[in-house]
């Protein structure tokens, strides 16, 4: 994801979506970039039968939420104004507050709240249709390669 001052928001969104499409696992989970820019990203994905972690309830597996949070944090790093060349996760902690409702989309919002020369610090939350009541939250440190 490059950021050229001449590109528009629509261009950014298109470039971001291409970035996501190039990640096989993000494609496999049908992730979609909803918003991107200035060290922030919003990425969502649909519920699917094969992602269920508890067959008794139909609730999606926590690991899926991890993959979405990790991707969203990585995208937020790449969208930081200091334009890192690439990024990788150093650590990621996820708190699971409640089960995501079966059948509903899950949306992650990540924010790069601090950036050093080589490390990005991230916060993220994931919600379903009930946007006021988070499903999970995450904090992480990512590499910022220059």
């Amino acid at each position: 994801m490059t950021q050229d001052p001449d590109t528009t928001d629509a261009d950014h969104a298109r470039i971001a979506q291409q970035f996501i499409e190039a990640i096989p696992h993000a494609r496999a989970l049908q992730m979609r970039v909803d918003e991107i820019g200035a060290g922030r990203a919003v990425i969502s994905m649909p519920w699917a039968e094969h992602l269920v972690g508890d067959p008794r309830t139909g609730v999606i597996h926590g690991g899926v939420v991890s993959a979405l949070m990790d991707t969203c944090c990585g995208a937020a790093v790449m969208a930081h104004p200091t334009k890192p060349r690439s990024t990788a996760t150093i650590d990621l902690r996820i708190d699971y507050m409640r089960a995501a409702k079966p059948g509903q989309r899950i949306t992650a919002r990540a924010e790069c709240y601090h950036m050093t020369r080589s490390v990005a610090f991230l916060r993220a939350v994931a919600v379903d249709d009930d946007g006021d009541n988070p499903v999970a939250s995450a904090t992480g440190a990512f590499t910022a390669e220059r």
Partner: protein, 166 residues
């Protein structure tokens, strides 16, 4: 205590079918392709490499989220397996994949922290979990995952879980 003279094939089939029931009941584990290897009560989770697990197509490297998911699955199965071992060996329970009600309810993840140590190569990955503390209500579990060399970890994780209440 289990019968010392119980035929070996019965012991193995009881343990293998219980493990299979635990694992095959979760769609997401089948989708990722996760399998378990059992030696006595020791479990090793195996994640066979697949293109859909890639997170960085240029290296290529396994997606960090996949690594986290693989370790979380390993922790949950190890925790359930350890919790049901006594009941399984004494014959009090006999989990059967075909009978959903016979399956133990799974622990719920409270939090999970992953420490990424090396990027995941496009190869199979393995993981083992250790239940550090398992109380009536809460449990703490550590997980290690590696690829070619057991001593060169790809990642380590620690998580807290809420145990299913009887």
């Amino acid at each position: 205590m289990a019968d010392r003279n119980e035929p070996l094939h019965l012991i193995k089939s009881r343990r293998d079918s219980a493990l299979n029931a635990l694992v095959s009941g979760v769609p997401y584990m089948s989708w990722l392709g996760i399998q378990f290897d059992r030696r006595g009560d020791e479990l090793t989770a195996i994640l066979p490499f697949d293109d859909k697990l890639i997170g960085n197509p240029r290296l290529p490297a396994i997606h960090g989220g996949v690594t986290a998911a693989f370790m979380e699955v390993t922790a949950i199965i190890e925790l359930s397996w350890a919790a049901m071992w006594e009941d399984l060996e004494s014959g009090r329970i006999a989990p059967d994949a075909a009978v959903p009600d016979s399956l133990p309810r799974l622990p719920k993840t409270i939090d999970f922290t992953v420490d990424y140590l090396r990027s995941g190569l496009p190869r199979d990955a393995y993981a083992r979990a250790r239940v550090v503390r398992s109380g009536r209500r809460y449990a703490s579990v550590q997980v290690e995952t590696w690829q070619d060399n057991r001593s060169r970890l790809m990642a380590q994780a620690t998580g807290h879980f809420l145990m299913p209440q009887p």
